[in-house]
């Protein structure tokens, strides 16, 4: 083979020696002005090819040889497999395939992989984690968004009594505490915190035609706690942030997943699946309590159509596909 143009460095000084590199038998021979070196191919450390950047060959005696002609070197070292990554990166057809596969995998990972991983991790953690998670979240929101409720004493006592019975029947592993608050910003709403606190707003209580409807909402919120949606949502957003950090190659943004839990909860990025899970749980619980799920459906319908839910952060804005949910709740085979 015709020798390749190369540069030899002895690793002791920064002097560059132009040489001719010839591969023959299984030896590499470097010849230049005052240089005649010979090495076994097996003793060389040939760097993997990256596009067309000059290839570095580490020599066993501490020197190195740089070859600019990558194609020539690949041909000369034909016995050794050309780099897998280089082959993918250099063929337009494969690049296009990589692009499409990336989009496909990326979507699949975010849509299915991350929720699955979050679920597995969440349920392998003890319930104590949920209780501790965002222990301060409810109190923080109390400071910023909530005010004292404007309910009559009797109503308050009656509701508390009824809710207490429901919670006992639910047998959720986390101890549940129900709070009533008033919030102009949140409108008619009910929020379940992983720590076991469930907050009902005045407006939600007023929107209900009867207590059974509120029991329906409570059952749904208990479903969120039972299925540990708060913890799973936090895990999902953390894993997504981590994935983004890895892909964009910015290791320092890993700290970004110490995200504020209250914000996550109030934003209520609960996915459709979380909602369906909570609704399923509610269905089961309501059946056990002999309360018709129709009541919950009625309340949802009223909230959607009646303009009760004006606020952007109202109950329905955080629970997508109301019509679908109503259908599921009232389906009788």
């Amino acid at each position: 083979m015709t020798p390749l143009q190369a540069t030899y460095y002895d690793g002791r000084t920064s002097r560059a020696h132009p040489v001719a590199a010839a591969v023959g038998g299984d030896r590499l021979r470097l010849q230049g002005e005052g240089i005649d070196l010979d090495y076994a191919l097996g003793a060389l450390a040939v760097a993997p090819r990256v596009a067309n950047t000059p290839r570095r060959i580490g020599l066993p005696d501490g020197g190195a040889c740089e070859v600019a002609d990558n194609d020539g070197l690949d041909r000369a070292l034909a016995g050794r497999r050309a780099g897998f990554a280089y082959r993918l990166e250099s063929r337009p057809a494969l690049i296009l395939a990589a692009l499409l596969l990336t989009i496909g995998f990326g979507w699949g990972l975010i849509e299915y992989g991350v929720p699955w991983a979050a679920r597995v991790i969440a349920f392998s953690l003890p319930r104590d984690v949920d209780r501790e998670l965002g222990r301060g979240a409810a109190d923080t929101l109390d400071e910023w968004l909530f005010e004292a409720p404007a309910m009559s004493e009797e109503r308050f006592a009656a509701l508390n009594q009824r809710f207490g019975e429901v919670v006992k029947a639910a047998r959720v592993d986390t101890p549940v505490e129900i709070r009533f608050r008033s919030s102009a910003t949140l409108g008619a709403n009910a929020i379940a915190f992983p720590s076991g606190i469930i907050v009902f707003t005045d407006e939600m209580v007023d929107a209900a035609a009867n207590d059974d409807e509120l029991v329906g909402v409570l059952a749904h919120e208990l479903g969120h706690i039972h299925h540990r949606h708060g913890l799973r949502a936090w895990l999902q957003s953390s894993v997504t942030a981590l994935a983004v950090a890895l892909l964009t190659g910015d290791a320092t943004s890993v700290t970004a997943f110490a995200a504020a839990l209250p914000a996550v909860l109030v934003e209520a990025k609960f996915s459709r699946e979380f909602e369906a899970e909570a609704d399923d749980y509610a269905l089961g619980l309501l059946t056990e309590l002999e309360v018709s799920p129709q009541h919950l459906a009625d309340l949802l319908l009223r909230l959607e159509g009646g303009g009760e839910d004006e606020s952007v952060l109202g109950y329905l804005s955080s629970h997508p596909a109301t019509a679908e949910r109503i259908e599921q709740l009232t389906y009788r085979p």
Partner: protein, 374 residues
């Protein structure tokens, strides 16, 4: 002062502001030969394989990306090489991941842990991490098969990274430019090419000036942003409440004016950031010497601003597909404005002690190098 004369005079003379080096002093340009289509292939395969391997390939991806940019950066016809081994980087990343994961998990349960980490553990550990990261990057960079090195001590790193950071916070930012100057000096003066150290001869005032200009830009944008706020009459409300609460109460034209104010502020901050980036980069390189050679970097603020803004637009419009193009563009501009000034020969540098000892170069001393993307 005359710039003609012996090498020694050239070495110590400062270039008079605004006047170019005379033609008699040789200038060797740096060149960048990377191209966007080439890098796109590397970039997309990196992402695909990283996803498929759930992140493990990210170490190989980093090595290939760095080698692409290093290998296409040449001085006097010779490129840089990146010598890090992917497995070492992978180990480092796993360590970082576990550490951060533990921190996040523990601090969700015990919020007090955050304080412990922030005020006790982090200040103690940061200097050590910084030194190891700098050593890792420098020792894995070579030109003409001589490796660079970093000789800084953790003790010094504590001073410039922890103490000066604290000082900057305590003085509400007034000492930040000085901190940047000291950290730059620490990094440059402890940098070695082979066994030859670099020297840094900038003064702190130049850094102060750069940040002063940035502060002026932000001040100007604050004043500009105040105009729509006053016009909308929302000023009293703004002064009483937080910005968030205010935005929920505004409606119609008031909201538009408020958004305009925020936009002006964002523009001001962006301009300030780009200015600082350009000024500090120029300052750093223009005052760095090695032996009797010095560097010259002439990034232009308007050009850099244009590049950053048009990159942003291109990336947004292409949903991210133009990221490789943007990166190559920035690298090409920055490298093209860099030169090595001086008549000294480039072949008389000697390898450092660590390289002399390690024949194959496989083990460079530290068993577990940490690479943190710093």
């Amino acid at each position: 002062m005359t710039l003609e004369g012996s090498i020694g005079e050239v070495a110590t003379a400062r270039r008079p502001i605004g006047r170019p080096w005379p033609a008699s002093v040789p200038a060797r340009p740096f060149t960048f030969s990377g191209r966007a289509p080439e890098y796109f292939g590397i970039w997309i395969v990196n992402i695909l394989l990283t996803i498929v391997t759930l992140g493990i390939y990210s170490a190989w991806a980093k090595v290939r990306t760095k080698q692409y940019f290093y290998g296409n950066t040449r001085l006097d016809g010779t490129p840089l090489h990146y010598l890090a081994r992917p497995l070492t980087i992978l180990k480092g990343r796993i360590v970082v991941l576990v550490a951060f994961g533990a921190w996040a998990a523990i601090s969700q349960i015990y919020p007090e842990f955050d304080l412990l980490m922030l005020f006790l553990v982090l200040p103690a550990v940061t200097p050590w991490i910084v030194v190891r990261a700098l050593r890792f990057t420098t020792r894995n960079t070579s030109w003409r098969h001589l490796r660079f090195d970093f000789a800084g001590s953790s003790r010094k790193a504590f001073g410039v990274y922890v103490l000066l950071w604290a000082a900057a916070i305590l003085t509400l930012g007034l000492l930040h430019p000085y901190g940047v100057y000291r950290r730059t000096r620490y990094r440059v003066e402890n940098l070695r090419y082979g066994e030859t150290p670099f020297t840094f001869d900038a003064a702190a005032r130049a850094f102060n000036r750069a940040y002063l200009v940035a502060a002026a830009i932000i001040l100007a944008s604050l004043l500009a942003a105040a105009v729509p706020v006053v016009v909308s009459g929302a000023a009293p409300a703004l002064l009483e409440n937080t910005a968030e609460e205010t935005s929920w109460r505004l409606a119609g034209t008031d909201a538009i004016l408020f958004l305009l104010a925020v936009l002006l502020l964002v523009i001001g901050v962006a301009l300030a950031f780009v200015h600082v980036g350009v000024a500090v980069a120029n300052l750093t390189w223009n005052h760095t010497r090695i032996g009797d050679l010095r560097f010259r970097l002439e990034l232009s603020f308007p050009r850099m601003l244009w590049i950053r803004l048009s990159n942003l637009a291109a990336i947004a419009l292409s949903l991210g597909l133009m990221i490789p193009w943007a990166r190559v563009r920035v690298a090409r501009y920055q490298v093209s404005r860099l030169q090595l000034i001086g008549a000294g020969a480039l072949d008389r540098f000697l390898a450092g002690e660590v390289q002399r000892q390690g024949a194959t170069g496989a083990e460079m001393g530290e068993a577990l190098e940490l690479d943190l993307g710093l």
